[in-house]
Structures are given as structure tokens and as C-alpha cells.
């Protein structure tokens, strides 16, 4: 099976600080893959290189058989990759509905159709009742949901999720997990997620990639990765006891 997303040895340094060094990973079509690792490991930087915010210093990013590294973020979105921001970036002055409509206009020029798409997605993420509130007045978990809704509205083939479960209560996490499962199963959406909430990672991921100090130290099936001594030492040590 050929991978939908193939990242080959990408590196990025910020003024000498090596944020990511030679990272490679694959996300097969239809899979859910988790990217985990301690704070500052370089996870978000990887996302930014995939999504076109930074051009990798070296290495390649191939999506659906096409090189996409070096393209602009809007071109990468149009190629079929949607992303959320870890530090949420809502269109604060606009309503939740308008936020999602902006994404939906990627598929249609008609406002009525964009509105219909937005309604559907907002409902799916449980934001329906709050859709007319300005995004600025939403709680952080709701703003994270809005990030997801907006990205989904562009109808991506691959969705990049950067810590969208952070700050959710366990029951809310389970709801979100169910939403992503559903999107994956029913719509065939491929997902690459960065997540610290292991409860969500274990529930969703078919594959886990572990990043540490900008390097990938482990990758594989969840049950193997969480027992990997190197991973336990640098990251999961305390948490898996719980």
C-alpha cells in the first residue's frame, strides 16, 4: 500500500537551534497516525513543514505522489491537506458559522451552499447551538473544535490535528475521538494527529511515531511503541503508570 503522505528526512533549524533533524514518517491512505513526544520535541515544526508554513531545510514531503515541500500553505490546503493550529487562530470578530463558511468557500462560490456545508460540520462537532456567537467569545475547547470544523470544511483528504483534545474533560475527549473515528471510517478521512492525551492516542491511532529532540526515536503499532524502553524513558514514563 502506498502512503498518502510520505515525509522523507526533513530538517529544520531556527537560527542554529535544530528543531527537527531528518524526520521521516508515512501516513497510509485511510489511516490514523499519531505523532507524540515531549514538549519542544519538534512536532508542531513538522506540521508546519508539511503544511507549507516553513520550507524544510532539507528533505522532501510527498503527498498523493506529488512533491509539496516549498509550496505555499494555501496551495497545500488546495492539494487536500487541512490543518488546525495548536495555538488557535480563530477569525475572532466573525461568528463560528462565518469562520467555518470561510473554509467551505474552498469548495463552492455560493454562500448558500457554503452555509449549508458549515451547518452540517458545526453540528457534527457539537458547535451547532453556538454558531452565531463571535469566535472570540468561545471557550478554548470550543475554539479548538472550531479549528477542526474550519479545516474540515475545506474537505481535506488528510487532516493534521495539533493537540485539539488539550483541555477537554475525559468525556469530551471520548466524544471527539468518536467524531474522528466516524470521519475516518465513513468518509475515509486520513488523519495525522499530534496529541499528549494518551487516552485519545490509544483509542484512535493505528500507528504511533515518537519524536524526541527533533529526531524520530520510535515508530510502529501502539502496543509496541508504548513498551519501547526509549519511549518510556523520555516521554511516557510517568503517564503510563496511571
Amino acid at each position: 500500500m502506498s502512503a498518502l503522505l510520505e515525509v522523507r528526512g526533513i530538517s529544520k533549524a531556527f537560527r542554529g537551534l535544530k528543531a527537527v533533524t531528518g524526520a521521516s514518517l508515512e501516513v497510509p491512505q485511510g489511516a490514523i497516525v499519531a505523532l507524540i513526544g515531549p514538549n519542544g520535541a519538534g512536532k508542531t515544526t513538522c506540521f508546519n513543514m508539511i503544511a507549507g508554513v516553513f520550507k524544510p531545510d532539507s528533505g522532501e514531503v510527498v503527498f498523493a505522489g506529488r512533491r509539496i515541500d516549498g509550496l505555499r500553505p494555501d496551495q497545500i490546503c488546495n492539494a487536500g491537506i487541512g490543518r488546525t493550529f495548536q495555538i488557535v487562530k480563530p477569525f475572532a470578530g466573525l461568528s463560528g458559522l462565518d469562520n467555518v463558511m470561510v473554509g467551505a468557500f474552498n469548495r463552492t462560490v455560493h454562500a448558500a451552499e457554503a452555509r449549508r456545508i458549515a451547518f452540517e460540520i458545526l453540528d457534527k462537532l457539537g458547535l451547532g447551538p453556538k454558531r452565531d456567537l463571535p469566535a472570540a467569545s468561545l471557550t478554548l475547547p470550543d475554539r479548538k473544535r472550531l479549528e477542526v470544523a474550519r479545516a474540515l470544511a475545506t474537505r481535506p483528504r488528510l487532516l493534521l490535528l495539533d493537540e485539539v483534545m488539550a483541555g477537554l474533560r475525559p468525556t469530551e475527549t471520548d466524544v471527539m475521538v468518536e467524531v474522528f473515528r466516524e470521519l475516518n471510517r465513513r468518509d475515509g478521512l486520513t488523519i495525522l494527529l499530534i496529541e499528549h492525551v494518551m487516552r485519545a492516542v490509544m483509542a484512535l491511532a493505528q500507528n504511533i511515531v515518537v519524536l524526541h529532540h527533533g529526531e524520530i526515536i520510535a515508530a510502529g503499532a501502539p502496543q509496541d511503541v508504548v513498551r519501547d524502553p526509549a519511549v518510556l524513558e523520555c516521554y511516557l514514563g510517568e503517564e503510563t503508570e496511571v
Partner: protein
């Protein structure tokens, strides 16, 4: 689940008020004296230019402090064609639009291609207006700094083809321009362009991540705004009949254009209109008052603008319209 229309147009009260206002404005020349009519023309002029500037700043978040450039170039273009070649302003206007749009696009290209934003973009717009002023100061074909004049016909004539006529004609022309600009901007705001512009205004990085080619959409905003503003220049030339680079390209002209929308409510449709009315009426009142007291204070208008701006920024940071709309119960008042 049916999609509700945007708040303004779903609201019958708003439409009713708008129609009543339009009826009043249509009847106005029959009801008032020539002084009040001249103030009304000024209000409509600033409402129009404010609406045009608002497309760029209010909708798309790109601050221009040099909109006098488009007024001036638009005015000089039609005036020169008219004076030198007897070309009707209805023909000349097309050239004015083309030239001003191109100038806007050049400024936009330089700024957006090379990542000049915010304050630096604003400075760039000032610089272009200033360079152009200096250029026109030495442009003999259009009178250089000595001014350029259109022949004023006797008052009774009405020559629509050449825009020669009474203040009443100019009043209706300005009203038509305002109404058209309002409808056009309302349509823009509800279309994909309006959504994309607001997304860029609110967060450019997020807009880009949603597939928006922000360069292209910012260029569109600049192009539309400069094209619209050039029409105000055409009006200016034929209404005032005299053009001086020192005046028309002056930065204080640019500031006058932006005060209306800022005070009325940036990014809203009614803000530029309301702001123009409030500012013009108050400024004129102050000037009259000072004159009536037998005083002569140069720059009293500018000081007054400063004070009003300060008060609005302090107490109504989003402008008058959003607050007023809420009080009147006209939907969200966010201008949509």
C-alpha cells in the same frame, strides 16, 4: 434546516428605515436651501469615499493613508481629457478608473509581494500620494502647482453629458454614487470575497491555511477600492472645477476620507455613511459657530476632527454604528 439570510436583510425594520431614508434623500433638494444642499453633497461625497476606503481597510484589513492619490489622479484624468480634448467625463471616467486601479495594484504588488504590512504598508500609501503630488506640482500640461481649471457655465444649464449643471444635479449624482456603492459593498460582503477579506483581516495565517491565496484577494480589495475612489475624483473635478495638487493630494484629504468610517464603524456598511454625516455636520457647525462669534481660528476643523476621533476611539472603539444598531434593534449591527 434552513439557512437564515444575513441579519440586515432578514430584518424588515432595517429595510423599512433604509427606504424611508432614501425617500427623504430623494426629496431633499426640494425641501432645503442651497447651503444645506451643499452640506448634503459634502456628506454624500465623504460617505462614498469612506465606503470605498472601507473595502480595503474595513473588509480586508489593509490600511491606506493615501487615498487622496486616487481622488487626485481620477480628478486630473477626466479634467485633462475634458479641457484639452473636450472628452465627456462619462468617457474619461473609464481611463480614470483604469489608471487608478493600476496605481493601486502597483502599490499592492510592491507591498504584498515583499511582505510589507501594517504600518509600513500605510507609509507606502502615503509615499505614493506624496510623490504624485510633487509630480503634479511640476506637470505643466495640467497647470502644475498653479492649478487646473474647468470652465464654469452659467448656473441655469443642465448638460448631463458633460456634467455641467446646478448643485441639484451634483446632489443626485452623489446620491446615486452612494446608493450604488452601498449596494455593491453589501453584495461584496455577503459573497465569497467578503468572507475571504474578513478572514484575511482577522488572521492572515489562518486564512492561508484554509486555502486562500491571500496575495490575490488583497490585490482584489486594493483594486476595487482604488477604482471606486477614482470615481470620487471624477465627481470632485466637475463639482469644484478647480484642482490644485497641494490640496487634492494632501494627506489631510486622505485623513478626511478615513475619519468617517472610523467614527461610524470600520468594516460596517452604514458606518461610512453615518460617520460622514456626523463629522460633516458637526465640523460645519463648529466652523459656522466660530465665524459667527467673529473669531478666526485657522485649523479649527482639524482640531475638531482630532477631538471627535479621540472621543470615539475612547468611548466607542468600534464606532457609532454598531452601538446605534444595537439600540435600534437592527440585528447584530456588525454591518452584515
Amino acid at each position: 434546516m434552513s439557512a437564515p439570510a444575513s441579519p440586515l436583510f432578514a430584518d424588515r425594520r432595517a429595510i423599512g428605515l433604509l427606504l424611508a431614508l432614501l425617500a427623504l434623500l430623494l426629496a431633499l433638494p426640494a425641501l432645503v436651501n442651497s447651503y444645506i444642499l451643499s452640506v448634503a453633497i459634502l456628506i454624500l461625497y465623504f460617505a462614498y469615499t469612506g465606503q470605498a476606503w472601507n473595502v480595503m481597510m474595513g473588509f480586508c484589513g489593509q490600511l491606506s493613508l493615501g487615498h487622496s492619490l486616487y481622488v487626485g489622479v481620477g480628478a486630473y484624468t477626466v479634467a485633462a481629457l475634458f479641457v484639452h480634448y473636450q472628452i465627456s467625463p462619462w468617457v474619461g471616467v473609464w481611463l480614470a478608473v483604469v489608471i487608478c486601479t493600476l496605481m493601486g495594484l502597483v502599490i499592492g504588488f510592491l507591498a504584498f509581494r515583499f511582505g510589507i504590512g501594517g504600518t509600513y504598508f500605510a507609509l507606502l500609501t502615503i509615499a505614493f500620494a506624496e510623490f504624485t503630488r510633487i509630480g503634479f506640482d511640476h506637470f505643466d500640461w495640467v497647470g502644475s502647482s498653479g492649478g487646473f481649471f474647468l470652465k464654469v457655465e452659467s448656473h441655469g444649464t443642465l448638460d448631463l453629458l458633460n456634467l455641467r449643471g446646478s448643485p441639484t444635479m451634483f446632489y443626485y449624482l452623489a446620491l446615486a454614487m452612494c446608493a450604488a456603492a452601498f449596494v455593491f459593498c453589501a453584495w461584496l460582503l455577503k459573497s465569497r470575497a467578503g468572507y475571504y477579506w474578513q478572514a484575511i483581516r482577522e488572521n492572515e495565517e489562518a486564512a492561508q491555511a484554509l486555502g486562500i491565496n491571500t496575495f490575490r484577494w488583497k490585490m482584489l480589495a486594493v483594486g476595487i477600492s482604488s477604482a471606486m475612489t477614482s470615481l470620487a475624483g471624477v465627481f470632485f473635478a466637475f463639482y469644484y472645477n478647480n484642482l490644485f495638487p497641494e490640496q487634492i493630494f494632501n494627506i489631510s484629504r486622505s485623513i478626511e476620507i478615513i475619519l468617517g468610517p472610523i467614527i461610524g464603524g470600520i468594516g460596517t456598511l452604514f458606518g461610512p455613511i453615518l460617520g460622514a454625516a456626523v463629522l460633516t455636520i458637526l465640523a460645519d457647525g463648529i466652523t459656522e459657530l466660530v465665524a459667527a462669534m467673529g473669531l478666526e481660528i485657522p485649523g479649527v476643523k482639524q482640531v475638531f476632527y482630532g477631538v471627535v476621533l479621540l472621543l470615539v476611539v475612547m468611548f466607542l472603539p468600534h464606532g457609532i454604528w454598531p452601538t446605534l444598531a444595537r439600540k435600534l434593534g437592527l440585528g447584530q449591527g456588525s454591518g452584515k
